[in-house]
């Protein structure tokens, strides 16, 4: 794929903006972020783009490439057709700051709303014992690099600004599932919290989040659905519903 490529870059800020077309060199083996960097170094030195590790590990260079939420560092140039114009825009679900950089502070606010890990009071540091098979379920969710592509693509957030207040989004559903499945976390009603305080019920399982996850975390199948099923179990099974009320603990 060596040679010139056509790039259409969204440039602007929260007030206004427009697409700018540029032609730029691309070399074999390069990714979209490389080409954007070349534009920056040779044609638009003030082009705003967020990036860090350039290896798909930090989740900074999230943007939309031809309308699809992607990490620019993991999108290889040879996946495009010869002569195709590649359009790059900032994440659409969040306010734009400048050019390709979006204001993702929504996600940090949501992170504050999820109750943290609560360790067992009777275990001293160094005394924790867990089996590999038991930590693996949570470990899958801890692979999350917080690129927020799932948050960006989730139509509950993307298409309905008004939902943002009551809906935590897929990134935080896997956080809740991770804590729920943590062998030593002592908070027992995580699923209930997810349902009642973080809008789990608004998710209608279209799996868009799973599709865009660069870490291939099975967000819907392994986190959201299991939590939904168990919540439903308790809510609609009269015996368990009564049990949860009597015991005052909603250990489900």
């Amino acid at each position: 794929m060596a040679g010139k490529v056509n790039l259409r870059i969204w440039r602007g800020d929260s007030k206004s903006g427009d697409f700018k077309d540029v032609q730029v060199d691309a070399n074999e083996g390069e990714v979209v972020l490389d080409v954007i960097h070349r534009v920056q170094a040779t044609q638009m030195s003030d082009l705003a783009v967020r990036w860090n590790c350039k290896a798909g590990k930090c989740g900074s260079c999230s943007m939309e490439i031809n309308g699809k939420p992607r990490l620019a560092c993991m999108t290889r140039m040879n996946t495009f057709e010869e002569g195709e114009t590649i359009t790059v825009t900032p994440l659409r679900a969040f306010p734009v700051i400048r050019d390709l950089v979006a204001d993702v502070s929504f996600n940090y606010k949501k992170a504050m709303e999820v109750p943290s890990f609560e360790p067992p009071a009777d275990l001293a540091p160094g005394e924790y014992r867990m089996q590999q098979v038991d930590v693996e379920r949570s470990q899958e969710f801890r692979k999350c690099i917080e690129c927020f592509l799932c948050q960006n693509t989730c139509h509950v957030i993307r298409d309905h600004e008004e939902n943002k207040k009551s809906f935590a989004g897929p990134r935080f559903f896997i956080r809740m599932a991770e804590l729920d499945m943590h062998p030593l976390d002592t908070i027992r009603n995580r699923k209930q919290q997810a349902q009642e305080e973080h809008g789990l019920g608004m998710c209608n399982i279209t799996k868009c989040c799973t599709e865009v996850c660069p870490e291939h975390i099975k967000i819907t199948d392994n986190a959201i659905i299991p939590m939904k099923e168990r919540v439903v179990d308790v809510k609609y099974d009269p015996v368990r519903w009564l049990g949860s009320k009597i015991r005052k603990r909603e250990g489900i």
Binding site: D13, N27, E28, G29, E30, V31, D34, Q40, A41, T42, S45, D46, L47, A48, V49, R50, W51, N52, C53, K54, A55, G56, K57, C58, G59, S60, M74, R76, I97, R98, D99, V101, V104, Y108, A111, M112, P115, S116, F117, P119, P125, G126, Y128, R129, M130, Q131, Q132, V135, S138, Q139, R142, K143, C144, I145, E146, L179, H182, D185
Partner: protein, 628 residues
């Protein structure tokens, strides 16, 4: 001053939000102080996230022969005894507690059969010692610390109604100056990357936790953030950097495709059985076992292979020699024409482990090669070569409190601090270093603030000076593009101050750096102040130049080869040189180097080694006098 200025006041300001910075912030908060955490990127993106292999801590979960004394010995050997022994001692003793503490904050390490934290083998470590999570240990560490900060904020919200009453995270903010009142730190000054607006923190204590300097080099595993900001801030505030000639080139970076050249291939590949071969198919590391390590490393394939299952009766494979040895060996093989097609050597795990096992143990590596290089590492070997990874040198600090030498109120921890790793860092010792000394820096800063009688104040003159510096890139006439200056700088350091050095090349480098220094002082930013990477780079250039000058000058002085410093004109390690650390200081115009006497081990630590081994590192005189 027309520019908008935000003002804040905190007891402690932590610059850097990687492992060391966040651990320092936790400690300062737990001591009851208010803390500002400053990240150059978003919260949780710092370079710690890239650490793959694990965190070294002698917990003895896999082999109970391990203990702090063994870890200490390995660290000193890895650093070729130039380490600040007190730092190495504290690190070896405290690492297990720092790892266990992470579990109480929610970290989920891989487990042993007994349900303890699993530990893996790594270069230079005598026993399996690295706590790990697959090959994404750094991510686990930073996420745990990030979530610990959130937990403390949630607690503050419950108790005081304000989550940010004691800890506030300032994301995407760059600090350009440390402000002083006489000889004491009084605050820091910088700008919001997003808006370009300026910001002042009044604070009596500042913890530098800014990480590394890799962006001064062309081929590096570091992200754009590794521009040596903390190193430069310390120099400009009157502090000293030590051991700057020691730069670690990690032996295994990706070599293809060109755009990811330098990105790390974790040492765990070798720890888990991967072997290095040249174009002739030969496991060449057997040819490069140095005299000092012959007793511990296998000299034949059969023994090396047996070691993975029986470590008590076999010597280690030479692929697991310390990083400096492996990097030099690869460099030599490639230069001798026995390299791989893309100019590296082969690292093969596909013929050593079943495919499923590779994907389980090395998921990120599998992913990284599949997506970036279109190579399936379960079927084919990787091509790898050395990449600038880590700087052993850094701010000269007091081992116990992390207080910077010569600047009251300044502290440093993690990669930006020097001394702990001597001339070469062992893999896995970085993550534990962040935790041990991050905590000590937080405690050191807290104790300093509490004991301080008169709070230093920030003068308008200092603010004016700092503010002018930030706006300069916009007011310069006809200056050069910062991107091309940066590229030029990277080529000079890579070619002339890189993995193999000579006097002539180092002198050449110094002349060229001097020239770039002049031109960088006139680097021009186009466009406006809001999120403008060209403007950011124009300011970062000065930091990279101060660091490069420190490295080149220290490297010229040291007429021997040791760890991360190899002189083609002085290829041998010389005990005479072990007696000195190079300290660099900035006199306002240029970097000056001074040789400072390195201390001998105290008696109780001398006893941990055989006399025969000590003779390789210490002079006869030193050994005759005995320990301190």
């Amino acid at each position: 001053m027309s520019q908008k200025l935000d003002r804040f006041t905190y007891d402690v300001v932590v610059i850097g939000a990687g492992g060391a910075g966040l651990r320092a912030a936790v400690e300062a908060r737990q001591a009851g102080l208010s803390v500002a955490i400053i990240c150059k990127s978003l919260f949780g993106k710092a370079h710690t996230v890239m650490a793959e292999g694990g965190a070294a801590a002698a917990m003895g979960n896999v082999n109970d022969n391990d203990g702090w004394k063994v870890h200490f010995r390995d660290t000193m050997r890895g650093g070729k005894f130039l380490n600040n022994w007190r730092m190495a001692e504290l690190h070896a003793k405290e690492s297990p507690d720092r790892i266990w503490e992470l579990e109480t904050w929610g970290a989920l390490f891989d487990r042993t059969k007994e349900g303890k934290i699993s530990q893996r083998n790594f270069g230079g470590h005598e026993y399996p010692r690295l706590a790990h999570v697959g090959d994404r240990t750094g991510l686990e560490l930073i996420r745990t610390m990030q979530q610990r900060i959130v937990a403390l904020q949630q607690k503050d919200k419950k108790e005081f109604g304000d989550a940010e009453k004691f800890i506030k995270v300032f994301a995407e903010l760059t600090i350009t100056d440390i402000l002083k009142d006489g000889d004491k730190v009084s605050g820091v000054y910088g700008y919001w990357r997003e808006s370009g607006d300026e910001i002042l923190f009044e604070s009596s204590a500042v913890v530098l936790a800014t990480g590394g300097i890799g962006k001064s080099f062309k081929i590096t595993s570091n992200s754009w953030e590794g521009t040596g900001d903390g190193h430069a801030l310390a120099l400009k505030a009157g502090g000293a950097l030590i051991d700057m000639e020691f730069v670690q080139f990690h032996p295994t970076g990706m070599v293809w495709p060109p755009s990811v050249r330098g990105i790390l291939v974790t040492e765990s590949v070798r720890g888990d059985g991967g072997v290095l071969t040249n174009s002739e198919g030969r496991r060449f590391m057997f040819d490069y076992i140095p005299e000092v390590f012959k007793a511990n490393y296998a000299d034949n394939e059969a023994e090396a292979d047996r070691w993975y299952d029986d470590q008590d009766n076999n010597r280690r494979p030479p692929e697991l020699l310390p990083r400096d040895e492996v990097a030099r060996a690869i460099n030599t093989e490639v230069k001798a024409g026995r390299g791989s097609p893309q100019g590296g050597v082969f690292l093969d795990v596909s013929s050593r482990l079943p495919a499923e096992e590779i994907k389980r143990r090395l998921p990120s590596m599998w992913h990284q090669f599949k997506e970036l290089a279109d190579v399936d590492i379960t079927k084919a070997p990787m091509e790898v070569g050395p990449t600038c990874h880590y700087v052993m040198g850094g701010v000269k600090v007091d081992p116990d409190t992390a207080a910077a030498d010569g600047v009251a109120g300044l502290f440093a921890a993690g990669e930006v601090a020097g001394g702990m790793h001597g001339s070469n860092r062992l893999g896995g010792n970085s993550l534990s270093d962040l935790l041990v000394f991050g905590r000590r820096a937080g405690a050191g800063a807290a104790a300093y603030v509490k004991a301080l009688k008169n709070k230093p104040t920030v003068s308008e003159k200092e603010i004016e000076r700092a503010s002018t510096r930030i706006s300069e890139p916009f007011t310069r006439e006809g200056g050069e593009n910062p991107y091309s200056l940066h590229q030029e700088l990277q080529n000079i350091t890579q070619d002339l101050v890189g993995i193999i050095r000579t006097e002539a090349e180092l002198k050449d480098a110094m002349d060229k750096l001097e020239d770039i220094k002049k031109r960088a002082a006139n680097a021009k930013a186009e466009g406006g102040r809001a999120f403008n990477p060209g403007f950011h780079l124009a300011l970062d250039l000065e930091n990279m130049l101060l660091v490069s000058e420190s490295i080149a000058k220290s490297a010229l002085e040291r007429q021997e080869s040791r760890g991360g410093h190899t002189r083609d004109d002085f290829p041998k390690m010389d005990p005479q040189w072990r007696q000195y650390n190079h300290a660099t200081r900035w006199n306002g115009k240029k970097i000056e180097v001074e040789a400072e006497k390195a201390k001998m081990l105290p008696n109780e630590l001398v006893e941990l080694f055989e006399m025969n081994e000590l003779k390789k590192y210490y002079t006869e005189n030193e050994l005759a006098k005995g320990g301190n």
